[in-house]
Every structure is written in C-alpha cells, then in structure tokens.
Symmetry: D3
Subunit: 187 residues, 6 copies
C-alpha cells in the first residue's frame, strides 16, 4: 500500500502482513537463483514464516532504523531492497537487495538504489551509504559500480553461505561524491 | 517517503521522525481552525512531542492495527487521515481525518477517504468502515454523506472537547454497498 | 476472592487463575445457549486456555482500563460482566455481559448493570456508559431498556458471528440521566 | 471497589488508582505512628507517588503473585494487608500489614489475618504462611501469637529501619495446624 | 570465561550459553546424588533447557540482583553456587549451592562460600548473608557451621521436595561477625 | 568481580554497577587523551550515567551478543575492551578497546586482544574477528598489526568525531590464520 516511487515503472513498497503469500511465492519460484548468494533462502519453507518476519521489518522502520521493501516493476513484485540499519551517530547506512531472475537486466536495481541514495543523502541527511557484495556476485557488484561507488575493501570470509565463507567487497558512496556525480547510466 | 497515491494531486504519506517539524508547523498555523473539533490541539506545544507520537503511530502500523498518514496535496502537507484501529475479528475499522483551513473545499478529503475505502474493502478484505463526526461539524459530515455512507446513529456526549461533550454522528459503509455504489461526486 | 457486592444475592468477582476450571465448566455447559450471540464460544475448548486469558483481564484492570468479572448468584458462578475498556479522555466505557441459561429471568443482569452504572458514574466519574446488543438478542436488549438507556443507533454488520454479520443496537446512558432516573424495576 | 469481606465490619479492598489520595491521607496522618516500624514512610511525600505504586501492586495480583489491599473498618480506610509474594513451588506466602493508630485495639488485624489464612489454605491450597515482625514491635507480634502461629526463628539484622538494623521474629502457620486449631480469640 | 577466583584450585564461573552441555552433563551424571535435596533435578531432561535458563541467570546478574556460577575445581565443573537475589534496601542476600558427588569432602564449598562472604561484605557492602539448608542435609549444614554462621531458626515445611515438605534451618552471618571471626578451618 | 584472566598482570573484568565511580574516574582523568579518538567522551559528565550504561552492557552479555570489560593491570583499571556484537550466522565479531594514557606502551592491549582472539576462535567457535581503527590513530593500529591481522580496507568517513568524519582502517583475522600464526611479539 505505502510505496516509495522510483520512476514510472518502479515502486518500493513497505511489506505488510497481507503480502506474505506474494512475497513467499516470489522467493519460492526463484530458489535456485536466489540461494546462490543469499544464505537464508533454504530456511524459508512456508509463507507463514513471513507473518513473523514482516512485523519485525515494520518495527525496524518504526524505530527509525532502516526498512525493507518489495520492488514492484510495472506492479509486479520482482525483488527486495532496504536499509539494513541506520547508524545515526556516524550518519551511515548499508543497502541490501536482491532481484528475481526474470527481472534482471532491466536496470531495475540500479534505478532503485539511485533513488534510495537520494533519499539517504537528501531526506535523511546521512553522510555515507555502503553496499556489500559477494566477491563473485558480479551482477550484484555491477550496481554500485555503475552508480560510481568506490571500492573500499574486501572483507575476507565476511559472509557464511551454506557452510562456506566467501569474501565481501565493500563499496562506499559519500554525500559529497553523490552531489558531484557526473554521469549515470541505468543499464 | 512511503506514500499511498490517491490521484495525481494527492498522496497519503506515512509520518516518519523526519516529519516532526513539518507536521507541527501545519498544526500550529491552524490552531484556531483545528481546535474547533479536535480535543488534542491545545496539548501540542512543541514539535518535539511528535518524536514520541510518530513512533507510536508506526508501531500501530507494524502491528497491523491501522495507521496515520499525512495528506499531501501537490506535495504540501495539508492534513491527516488514518485508520484508528482494525478490528480483525469483526472485519471493521474507523477512519479519522482533519484538514488545514486553506485546503478545505477542494475535494481532498473526499478523494482520500474514497481511496482508503477501496483499500479497506479490496486490499484488506474488511466488511465495514465507520466515520464519526461531531454533530455540528458540517464540513466533516459532508465527506461520508457525499460518498454515500449511511447514518447509523447519534452517540450522545460521545466526545469531550475542552470540557464540553458533544454528540457524534455515526456513519457506516459496508463492502456490499461500496461494490454497488452508483455515483461519486468529489465536490 | 475479591468481589464487588451488588446486593444480598449477587456478587461480581474478579477472575483469578484459580477460577479457570469453574469458568470453563460454566461456558462448557452453556455452549448452545451462549454461542447464539457470542462469537468466541467455539474457540474455548479447554480450561487451560483461561490460564492465558485471565491474566490478560487482570492486567487490563491493573492498567485502569476496565475489568472482567464473574457474576455469582447465591455463590454460584452464573455469568460474566465487565467494562470492555475505559476511554478516560472522553470519560466513557462500554459494558459487556452474558448469563448462563439457568440464571436467566431472575433480574440478575439488570441488578448487576445497575450497580456498575453507579460505580461508573459515582466512583470513577465517567460521563457515559454504552451497551451494544445484537439486534435480535432480545433478552440482552431488555437489560438497557429496563434501566432506561436510550437507543442511539444501529451499527450495521457491527459484529461477526460464525461467518455472518449482524447489526448491533447501541444503547447509551449519561450521568445526568442516571442522576434523574425516576424508576427502576428489576424484573 | 473489589473487596474481600472479612466480617460485617471489615473489608479488604484492592487498591485502585482512584484510591491514591485516600491512601496517602491515611499514611500522612499516621506518620509518626507508622514510621516506627515501616522503613518506607519517609519516602512517601505526595499522593501522586501512589499513581506509580498501585499499578505495580495490581500487576503483582495479575501475575498471581500476591496482592496488597486496604483494610476498611466500617467503610473507613484504616490500614493495609497483603501477601508479599506467592512461592508456588513450595506453596508458601508471607503476610505483611499495618494499621492506623486510631484503629489499633479493635481486633481488626487479627480478624483480617485469620480471613487471609482461610483464603491461603483453603482457596489457594498453600501449605505454609509466614509473618515476620520486628522483635520489639509487640503490637504486631501479638497478631500471630493470638492466632496460634509458632515462633520459628529470629532473623538477626533482618530489616533496615532508618539506618539501623533490627531483628525479625519469624512466625509460621501450616495448613495442618490451621485445620486443627482449637481456639481463636479476636482480642 | 568470566570467573571469580577463589584460590589456586577453585574458580566460580558465570554460566554462558556455551556451557549448556557441560552443565547438563554434570547434573545428569549426579542425578541420584542431587535429587536428594534439590527439587528441580527431575525437571531437567535435556541440555537445551539450559538455553532458556542461563540467559535468565545472566539477566539477573545484569539487574544487580544476584548471580549463578559454576564451581570449577582444577578446571572441572563440579557444582554451582550463587546469590539467589540481593535485597538492597535491607543489604541482605542468600547463598545457594550444590556439589557433584565426587567433589564432596575437599573443602570446595567452604572455600567458595568464604570467598563469596568476602565479596558480599567488602565489595557489595551488604550487612547480612543467609544460608538455608534442609534439616537433615548434614553435608550442606556443615558449610555454614564450619564458617561460624549462627543458627537463627527452623522454617517448618519451608521447602517442597517431590511432594514432601521438609524443614529448613536458617543460618545467618553479619558483617560485624565476619570482621571478627577468629578461625576458619576449610575441612 | 568476574574476570577473564589474560596473564599474571592483566585481567578483563565485567563491569558491574559498583564500578560506576571507578570507571568514570578513569575516563575523567583521561579526557584529553581519550577524546582524540572516541566520540562519546564529551558526553560523559557524571558517574551516574554509568548506572544506566553498565546494565545495558551486561544485558548484551546475557543476550550472548558480546560484552564490555574493564582492563585491570596489576589490579588497576586502565582501559576497556569488548566484543561490540556477535554475528552468529556469519560467526564474526568486532573488537573495540581503549587505554588510559599512563598504561600505553606496556603491551597491555596487545596481550588483551590476543587473549580475546583465543576466546573467540577456540571457545566461541567464531571464524573471523575484525578491528577498526581511525586511519591516523597509529597507536591503535599497532595492535592488530603486531598480532598479524590483515588490512582489508579503508572505510571512508566511517566514523564521526566531534563533527568531522575520519576514515577507518579495517583489520581482519581468520581462525585459520590464527591457528597458523608463527610469531607474536607483545611489544
């Protein structure tokens, strides 16, 4: 119901209880695609699990500590994006996201992240936004690279994925850089 | 940030902490107008009070028990509307609202309530929506009357307003009525 | 243990954990009678459910937000009555009640409600007490009518009862009316 | 409102928010009398403190962990009595009490404790009730002695009273003893 | 990890989640020995129960209201000791403890209690420490007697043990006595 | 009271309420030294603030989500060290620390971190430990460098310090590296 409009095609929608089944269906039909880089996919075995999870996400939003949204492309739920938390003392947040397989390659995520950067820097007054991607998750890494983020490091063994660890590449964007960006190519 | 789009001119926006000052300013510049029918207006003496209130509203939303939004007309905050609570057992809710003085007479509230009725009946699956208006608050009463609500009763002394009680007129709309409505005139 | 004395025959007793079995037994032996107008009867399938519910009722009392009592007639548990909540801002409450089949027709509920009206108006300083009855629940409606309540409206589809909705008749009593009541006939 | 009837003259009433002022007044007019044996008397400097304390007492009752009541003698608030807690595993509780100066010497406390013993043993099924009195608080000690309690020990320095410690005499009554008691002399 | 050092052989360790299995194993291999005087032994049927209990103990410590530790003798977990609560108003606490069968007779508990007395009196500034032992639990009673505690009473039926009650002997030690103790014989 | 022993000279002690004054005194006498790299120093203006903070730290420990300790060198409180949180899914934590001025240069922190690495990898079974230092905080950076951590990145504007941002250098140590470390030079 409540959405953040990215452009004419894309909206980011706060998940509500009524969205449990739709969200589960998207995850369930994209299991092999999503589990390649998301450790929690195998844990999701029923839409009813989201009846517990969605209120936690909304509580996070109520606490002014980030949020989690569904990405709607031409009305269809095709992914998720959000701020993991907000570190108000250091004016910093981290963006996480994933996309259904059939939605890849349309610039959806790049446009969504771009909109959230505007929101983070100009609405919330944050100074820094971070994105962390698995080293070999090239599609994910393409997003911050396309938007002009700077690679700041490689967190070795930063994430566990089905009993293996893999490295995370840290990308950072600062408010002064976003102000001065010269180009943006959606895809 | 997160909004429910009513039409090209009107959006309903979930209040967030960052909106404290803007919300207070609207109330503060409409005191004499609003306090005629709203008992809490005199209690609001500082924007910082909303730092406590807004998280309560968002927590209500996280609990799937209604919400409170700001009405934006052509981007400007001109009022508030929400579901006071949701009675899931009886599939029922109550809508409350108010408008800044300069926004009256443009059909803003009628269009907003109409959109929330669609949401209540078709998204949430509720069966009944109620609006209660002060007996002599004719501008407020015009909204449900214009939308085809039925007068169901008069709650005598239903509301305290600065040490006086006044009667509340109860308006009801049922899902089967909304399905069959024949006409709608915004204003 | 803790009771509100109505008269020589009737006491209203705050439910405590030790009353779980007795309360369940009363409900269980009155199922067909009670479920005609109470939507929760079929949900009660074990006395142990009351081990969760009774602390919630007592917590409500501790929060100064109403209470729920058992009606004892000559010592026997024959029904329940309480204030659903207390709206302190508007100095208003709503009374709910039910009676076991074998206790009907003795004026028990009329006398109990009368005592709670005295308590609401003279001890708590409330201004208004409401009772809502199913339109065709004539025995229930007889209580407020006998005590001089005013019919204030009909809430259409106000309550769900086993997948049907039925209308609720709203009865109201104001403190100034209770002060001036001329007559009272228990039965 | 909710009372436990001791006899024709005495009732034990659960304190509610509406009793704050009356309770404070009793304490305030008995300061020199009460502070001799009660360490908290000097801390009570305003009736508004009871707006915090009374809900805590009621919450304790809701948790099935004891209660605190006002003693009404011929309708007047003259003291307080309660179960400090209930140790359900060991089926044990402790009674605490105090009386206003002008109510001393009428058997009020003896009768109240006797009623609570009946309640503890026969309603709650406890096995043991304890009373602890300051060694030199002879009026307090007279209560359990009159009712046939057994002295079980002396807790040295058991209680702090305005920077001094004094010994507590432990009195115990068991359910089998209460069943077999031969006599009772109110005063 | 975090330990209170008693002497070269004995440490008291705050239980953490990682200790669940080790703690359960000690209890499980000492069932017949421990259940003679501990009522909860039969309730422990799985190490996973400690995943709930240990956080409660740590929360108690965080609330400055006592703690529960494992006794390690030469590194091996051989028992448990703690402060049941701390009554800050009366500057008083109670020590509880138990020992695995094979650890009895080495002075472990006497030395541990002695160290906790130093801590209670000299670090926390308490005035009184109490130990309660089953009347016929002679090994347990030997600890306070060896350390010079005073017998203060016998709480009749003070504790339930598998459907029987037994008397508890109350031992007390005051700070002024601990200051003046003349002798200490570990075993 | 409860300590983690590092070596004969150094202990890490869980802060308790009784330590408020000692902790405040250490911070207060090291203000100019500490505020160079710690953003919260100016916020601490009274030992009573720690009465709120220390229970939060202990609650964190009770939640199995890290801890905060005081470093005692030859018994004296000279600094603080802890795990900021524990990411159990990814088996990862971050160490934070600071030292009083007069304790610098004795290898205290290097030895403390080394001990916590052993604890993290061998007791808790974590896979990765991170330390983040201000780019120009060379004394702080010397600790992970001496212990063989790997520089993994530079988080630009990672931390706010009195209205400026500075970069953070990320150091990482993995369990397999710690197993194979060849040398350690305390200082």
């Amino acid at each position: 119901m409540f959405t953040f409009k990215v452009d004419e095609e894309i909206e980011l929608q706060l998940f509500q209880l009524k969205d449990c089944k739709e969200l589960y269906r998207m995850v369930d039909t994209n299991r092999s695609h999503l589990r390649e880089w998301l450790g929690w996919v195998d844990d999701m075995t029923s839409p009813y699990q989201y009846e517990t999870i969605i209120p936690v996400w909304l509580k996070q939003f109520a606490d002014n500590n980030g949020f989690n949204t569904g990405i709607r492309y031409q009305g269809e739920l095709v992914g998720s994006i959000g701020f993991h938390y907000i570190d108000w003392r250091n004016r910093h947040t981290t963006i996480g996201y994933y996309l259904a397989k059939n939605a890849v390659g349309k610039g959806i995520m790049t446009r969504s992240v771009r909109a959230l950067l505007d929101y983070a820097f100009y609405e919330l007054g944050l100074n820094r936004v971070e994105i962390r991607c698995g080293e070999y998750n090239l599609k994910s890494r393409a997003i911050p690279e396309r938007l002009g983020f700077t690679i700041e490091g490689r967190i070795r063994d930063g994430e566990a994925l089905y009993n293996n660890f893999h490295d995370l590449i840290v990308y950072g964007m600062l408010t002064r850089e976003w102000n001065n960006r010269t180009a943006y190519k959606p895809y």
